[in-house]
Chain length 543, copies 2
């Protein structure tokens, strides 16, 4: 069996990208929603065809063993996984490739890399799973001019993959000390040996890392309560170019502004998350789930709001609008689909679900196959709509890469907003993005799901798909992202609920972030990264 | 009916301080736990007896109308409400009295005060309810030498009491925009007009303010989930000496390090919380509660841990050790008392409580009067141990003031720690504080309750009472606080879970806070308060 290889241009494992037959099925599904569209597809590209500009720098002797300048390493560390990234990668444009990729095994390696970067004016871009969809891990040479008058001598991608161990387990407190470079499956496997689990499943779970999650405030699969990794962090260790922030393991604290919350979301601009104590749990033994159909989307939204304010704290509480249900192959008739689930390692969740069913019914939802009450180990549970959804959820990024190869533009944006403003935002976003796609691409499809909900508002997540116009793919994609970002800003939403800011969202982040707080972050960066070597261009502008 | 007046030296309303008869009852209760103690008490002091040094400064014409230099205003704004504060106030030592007290009505007033303070080198101490137990609102002239070579020209207490309005209600999202100076009852009354409630009851609820809660990360009555005000903040407006940080109303966000979390806990060192959007709710309609007795404290702790890790999220989950039950008049036989309650505005909580009962029984707890299932409006519910506890909870600060008048030393300290380290910390704290009281005061009583619990650890809250030795009250109190703080630090706990840092806890906070993060806070303060006029001496050291 050949070793699995990460695609250097598209999502995930090269071997797991949809094959020709899968692409035909996908094409058929897409064709149902688009008029007169004939999808042809080019074959996936090959690393042999990639040429890169020569590296501008060489690793010093001390770091030679942990540095690589191979075409594969440089190309595969060039981009994240937005449409823009995949499009460029598919077409062999790796103009922002790092000069080198370094793979530290421990904090001493990182300190040596920092020293070298500071001495030689080298920009360092921390890299976890490379699943950023906001240009968070890109050697974005635009920042050269932005950050220093003379530009950097070179750009280096710092891949944390070798620091992937669960270092310590506290069974009593249910917490684990995990290194920043551990991916979802790798840390999950180590926790499982101790009968524990993290229950944090971003869509990027298979490849993204704990350190990346903490650095970007990743959203997990819990739809309520523990929505972001932020809520599961007990303490962090962040190594900065000139110091280390190592916080105490504390279940709660009232001692000054939270140092954890300063590190969480710093997106590699202040330091690298080398390890963190994370709250874990025993695997759920009880699970209940239902799916319901709503003819009226607004009523479905009201039902979700009622549930989010009921103090029931479901693990899943996802509302898919008609287009979202269609795109995921769950429902074809335009109805909204609502997925609700409760899980517990401690108690039967029947009472919780019974109240959920009452609320769903009060608001006119028609129950699908559920409610079903199952032991969580029972995979039969997954045969309902909720199961279809889950399969589709993790397959979606692979489908996006396939769509790009078929000449489609497909991407997402997401936000959070208070309930009072949701409807106005939603209707405007849908209509503006639809109009922009119609104008630029002739047609398009936009769908929405709630990934997370709070008592005071939802986190809507939008997917847009349109036939790309050859030669205008990037320009059109930028126009759509701009109308979306502008609308989110205009209606008081956030430019990101869990995809982070990176370089892509910075224009709106700068408007959304209070100026005085931006000045605080800049002063902080000067304190921790005085040579301004870490992830330049992300979050914070240089003077 | 005469208007209620805040005591200028002790807790709360002057009229509500225990009278002679109440003091006799208290003395009898105390005598049961102390050997050979004859408690005499001096009468409460009178404001007429207070003399203060003359004010060093005068308000400029523009601010004359909102400034006061009356003896009562200056004396009552001198201290918070720790033992140290009350002892000094009782004995007429107001050496740290502010030169002036100002009462802004709006942000423009605050800006004018900032301008004056920056122009004239005046230290400003933000003041909410004056209930700090950590010298957080004290004009701590020790900071004079610490912060500027020449010292400040004067110290001014900035009382937010006039900014006490609920400005806006969002019924759909269940949130309210509340001014920083609103006390618990004042904001609660305004919310009630809209059928809403905050459900955040710190022990200081009657006097402390929303802005004070946000600035100090106050703990509320929810024992799980929404333990700190942090968890209820949707957005904040913090006015700094040279700018304003006004964050977006967002149910959740992943856009960079949280600006809210930077303001929350800044303790008046960066700016003043002028208003905040806070998550509110409809009043609970369902409530279930029980009390249980445990012969074995360790088993009780295990029961609480199991409940905290069960995902049940009780509103009350308080464990009182034998001494705590004794001091609160709930139980005299040394058994630990466990109080568990669930509340909901949405659903009957029977299933939740049934599981709670199972866990309590599994760990050997003997049920008291509960479980009782009541409509939350039914006050009969309060006749059980949980009701006795609640009454005692809010009366405790009044009792402390009375005890000081009776020559007793009584104070508290609190922390949070992971479960794995709790027992070692607890045993050491108890034995060291007990030994110190024995050595210095001849005897003493130390008790513990859990105020809040998390899946990964409890927040233990300690009360210590000892006969004060005349002339050595402050010295002995300091010795006890020192052994407590040192022990918390040594065992990896936090110096405060919800009492804040202020000036009292700063020595331990400085050790606990990562150096690099302290440098970030200092850089931030220089950015927002370049003249270093706001609450000097709190949290951050000057160079």
């Amino acid at each position: 069996m050949s070793e699995k290889i990460r695609s250097y241009w598209g999502w995930g494992w090269e071997q797991a990208l949809p094959d020709d037959k899968a692409k035909e099925v996908l094409a058929a599904l897409i064709s149902m929603s688009f008029k007169g569209l004939t999808l042809t597809h080019k074959p996936y590209p090959n690393i042999e065809s990639v040429t890169l500009a020569p590296s501008q720098i060489h690793a010093p002797a001390q770091l030679e063993d942990i540095a690589s300048s191979s075409i594969y390493d440089r190309a595969s560390h060039t981009y994240g996984k937005s449409y823009l990234d995949i499009f460029k990668g598919f077409h062999g444009d790796f103009s922002n490739a790092p000069d080198l990729v370094v793979f530290p095994s421990n904090s001493d390696d990182i300190k040596a890399i920092y020293q070298w970067a500071q001495d030689c004016n080298i920009a360092l871009v921390p890299y976890g799973g490379g699943t950023s969809v906001v240009q968070g891990t890109e050697c974005y040479r635009g920042a050269d001019r932005e950050c220093t008058s003379e530009g950097y001598a070179g750009w280096v991608s710092l891949d944390m993959k070798k620091m992937d161990r669960v270092l310590e387990i506290d069974q009593t407190s249910k917490a684990a000390l995990i290194q920043g470079g551990a991916t979802g499956p790798v840390l999950q496997e180590q926790l499982a040996e101790h009968g524990l689990t993290l229950r944090h499943y971003p869509q990027s779970f298979e490849f993204s890392t704990l350190g990346g999650w903490v650095a970007t405030r990743a959203g997990g699969h819990f739809a309520t309560l523990y929505t972001h990794i932020d809520d599961l962090v007990e303490s962090v260790t962040m190594l900065t170019p000139n110091s280390e922030i190592k916080t105490r393991r504390l279940p709660g604290s009232g001692a000054g502004p939270s140092p954890d919350r300063f590190c969480i979301g710093s997106e590699g601009s202040m330091g690298i998350i080398t390890e963190a104590w994370i709250k874990v749990q025993t695997p759920p033994q009880f699970r209940s789930s239902l799916s319901a159909r709503f003819k009226d989307y607004n009523q479905a939204v009201d039902a979700v709001r009622a549930i989010s304010q009921a103090g029931l704290y479901p693990s899943n509480c996802r509302l898919l609008d008609g287009n979202e249900a269609l795109l995921n192959g769950i429902s074809m008739n335009g109805e909204s689909i609502f997925l609700l689930a409760f899980e517990s390692s401690d108690h039967d969740t029947t009472a919780w679900m019974e109240r959920g069913v009452e609320i769903v019914s009060e608001f006119g939802g028609q129950l699908g196959r559920g409610p079903q009450y199952k032991n969580a180990g029972d995979r039969a549970n997954r045969e309902d709509e909720s199961g279809s959804w889950r399969e589709s959820f993790f397959a979606a990024p692979y489908r996006q890469s396939a769509l790009v190869s078929m000449g489609m533009m497909a991407d997402t944006f997401e936000t959070a907003i208070t309930w009072d403003k949701f409807h106005a935002l939603h209707e405007t976003v849908i209509s503006r993005v639809q109009a922009t796609m119609n104008e630029l691409c002739g047609q398009g499809l936009i769908s929405c799901r709630f990934t997370h909900v709070y008592p005071d508002g939802p986190a809507p997540y939008y997917t847009f798909i349109a036939p790309a116009i050859e030669g205008k793919e990037i320009e059109n994609w930028q126009a759509i992202k701009k109308i979306a970002g502008d609308t989110l800003y205009e209606f008081g939403a956030t430019i990101t609920h869990h995809h982070a800011v990176g370089r892509m969202h910075k224009p709106w982040y700068k408007k959304q972030s209070p100026d005085a707080f931006s000045s605080v972050l800049k002063a902080s960066k000067k304190q921790l990264d005085p040579k301004w070597i870490l992830n330049p261009g992300v979050l914070i502008d240089a003077d």
